[in-house]
């Protein structure tokens, strides 16, 4: 693979890497015919992010040497980020950036051609990997809202940077509401301040959702995409469905597109009152989900049961012992979530190096039930390098 980025696009690439770095610790690079894809997923698999840079984004783009398979790799996020650490410096002094990977060398080379003939070369070690893919389709989400990133950037300003979860939804009068989400404290003496931002429908380019629709997700994970979209002056669209179903945040322009898919809290987790309640002090039950009876199945799924291996890399490491799980959902026997629910709860604490148990279940390992039970539309599924699993 060999690609050359020049001019202002170097900073755009850098900014994209910065926003990906807010999500995961490993960056998956996959050069494809339709562009270079940079992807990452967080350790609890509740957030997935992907940027696809079209060939036209690059001054030169070659996905693979002629006659060879495209190589994909994963590298440590912080190693790749080191090349783009200071965006101000990148903007000022980097003229060209060349990223190359060839099968013979064991390094991914990121070379920055800077002013005054200075050349900075980063030789990054990488691991071959399987393709990291989440299957999601924004078109299948029942609710969409779209606004210039600046509107959403301003909308999150009142919230403290440390705030984890936020609820986004449609309130009375078709106003878009963002509210800080608080776990119900057992110790009621220490309560946190609740902040709510309400924006009129007119500020949105598209608002296709009914009053009462709402999702709760991790704001921290979105901030990276928000800041990217703001600096690139793009519109951000939010596609969401019932609580518990992942929400898709997307930006698009002629040269690139970005998707951040974040898990949302399911019905059973939510404590916050409805967004559209006439009298604030009256406790209104949380939003009613759409009638998807197996919604809870997603929350209880054990990831190991549902991991699906995608194409393995075609090289000497073909002999990996991955679980032989068929690709198509139809072939998989239905699994009852019951016995796995305890496992799932224990899962975050048993894996070494995972962050403290998060409220979001692993979003991607939705139940791949037989067609008779499957929910409308494909459930988002994440394929992961089974070999890399601890």
């Amino acid at each position: 693979m060999k690609c050359l980025v020049t001019g202002g696009n170097v900073k755009v690439l850098g900014k994209a890497v910065h926003s990906l770095s807010r999500i995961g610790e490993e960056l998956y690079l996959e050069p494809m015919e339709d562009g270079l894809s940079l992807r990452t997923v967080n350790s609890s698999r509740s957030a997935y992010a992907c940027f696809l840079f079209a060939p036209l984004f690059f001054q030169q783009y070659q996905a693979a040497a002629p006659g060879q398979e495209a190589l994909r790799c994963k590298i440590l996020m912080k190693s790749f980020l080191a090349a783009f650490r200071s965006l101000a410096t990148v903007e000022k002094s980097v003229e060209k950036c060349c990223i190359s990977l060839n099968g013979r060398s064991s390094r991914l080379v990121v070379q920055l051609h800077c002013r005054y003939g200075v050349r900075k070369t980063h030789n990054l070690s990488f691991q071959d990997c399987e393709s990291l893919q989440a299957i999601f389709d924004p078109a299948l989400c029942s609710h969409v809202l779209r606004a210039p990133a600046r509107v959403l950037g301003e909308a999150v300003l009142p919230f403290p940077p440390a705030l984890a979860e936020v609820t986004l939804g449609i309130g009375c009068g078709r106003r878009v509401i963002l509210r800080s989400y608080q776990e119900e404290e057992a110790d009621s003496s220490i309560r946190a301040m609740v902040t709510e931002m309400s924006i009129g429908e007119e500020d949105f380019q598209q608002l296709q959702a009914q009053e009462g629709a709402a999702i709760t997700f991790c704001l921290k994970e979105l901030r990276g995409l928000l800041s990217f979209a703001e600096s690139a002056n793009l519109s951000l669209s939010v596609h969401f469905d019932a609580p518990g179903r992942p929400a898709i945040f997307a930006v698009k322009d002629s040269l690139l597109d970005g998707h951040f898919v974040l898990a949302t809290m399911s019905e059973s987790d939510l404590h916050s009152p409805a967004l559209c309640s006439p009298e604030p002090h009256r406790l209104v039950p949380p939003l009613q989900a759409h009638s998807t009876p197996h919604l809870d199945d997603f929350a209880n799924d054990d990831i190991d049961s549902y991991m699906i291996a995608m194409e393995t890399t075609v090289d000497s490491e073909g002999s990996r012992a991955g679980p032989s799980i068929p690709l198509s959902p139809g072939l998989r026997p239905p699994c009852s979530p019951g016995p796995y629910s305890e496992d799932n709860d224990a899962e975050p604490s048993t894996e070494p190096g995972t962050p403290p148990p998060k409220k979001f279940r692993s979003l991607f390992f939705g139940s791949i039930l037989a067609p008779a039970h499957s929910p409308p539309g494909p459930s988002p599924v994440l394929a992961e390098d089974s070999e890399g699993e601890g």
Binding site: M193, V194, T195, E196, M197, S198, G200, D203, H281
Partner: protein, 280 residues
């Protein structure tokens, strides 16, 4: 108990935001007293504050275009609330470009001070930010601890130097010792001293001026050059100085020898009194 108030003037809003930022730096948790004419931020000298106490007062009509309150009862027409001052400060900071700000006492499963801000927006639609600050209603039996402190008869009263200068000096001294001696006399001299085994450091401020004496008799006998001193914890002084982002309109330091130091500040129309006790 009812309380609702509104600010529409940008200058008033900025001033109120600055006051709340100052309070947030001075006390993590404080009491807010709402009465028909005034708002007070109070820190009483309990163990939790290390003996430090604070009384900040502002006239509500200097800030609010609308102000309505109904206290606990007609004889006790006041509301005492306990809140985390940083919450109020953070809420007000989001009101940078506000068209109007409303504050009211609400009950959303628990008592809150709800700050509702209507932001100026480029587009025709308005944007509204609402903050629900959880508060605790302080019962009447505890009100006696939250009354205006009596200003003690001080031995010396002196005007303070530029607070920023004082803060940078005290910050450096803090590295040497926690024990600071603050002394002043009626000739306009103020000294800050650190004395350790290895080193003594004194910063002298001269020609500060002394406010006119309240009562002639007691202080007439005092030798103008004689210093009145107090030994205090330097960290408490530093915390006080850290809260003063803007130089006050008027700043007086009253020293009661070996007992306490009392800072009496006026920020435009907001008065702040801060008491630091001597080391016991």
């Amino acid at each position: 108990m009812k309380f609702r108030a509104k600010i529409v003037d940008a200058a008033c809003l900025n001033h109120f935001t600055r006051v709340s930022a100052m309070i947030a730096k001075l006390a993590k948790t404080c009491a807010l007293r709402i009465s028909p004419q005034k708002l007070n931020f109070i820190l009483s000298d309990k163990v939790a504050s290390g003996g430090v106490s604070m009384w900040c007062e502002l006239e509500q009509e200097n800030f609010f275009s609308e102000f309505q309150m109904e206290g606990v009862s007609t004889e006790n027409n006041a509301i005492y609330l306990e809140l985390t001052s940083e919450n109020l400060s953070r809420a007000l900071k989001t009101a940078q470009n506000a068209r109007a700000l409303k504050v009211k006492l609400t009950n959303k499963h628990f008592p809150c001070l709800t700050v509702s801000i209507e932001l100026l927006s480029v587009s025709s639609s308005s944007r509204i930010v609402t903050h629900d600050i959880p508060v605790k209603v302080i019962p009447r039996k505890l009100w006696k601890d939250l009354q205006e402190p009596t200003v003690p008869d001080s031995d010396v009263s002196v005007y303070l130097p530029v607070l920023k200068t004082m803060k940078s000096v005290v910050e450096k001294m803090r590295n040497l010792s926690n024990h600071l001696i603050i002394e002043a006399n009626l000739s306009g001299d103020l000294n800050l001293k650190i004395e350790t085994e290895l080193v003594c450091v004194t910063t002298h401020f001269k020609d500060l001026g002394n406010p006119p004496l309240a009562s002639e008799d007691a202080s007439q006998d005092r030798d103008p050059a004689q210093m009145a001193e107090v030994h205090i914890d330097i960290r408490k002084l530093l915390q006080f100085l850290a809260g003063q982002q803007v130089n006050p309109t008027r700043a007086v330091c009253n020293i009661v020898s070996n007992k306490l130091v009392h800072f009496d500040l006026l920020h435009e129309d907001v008065s702040l009194q801060y008491f630091i006790p001597a080391f016991s």
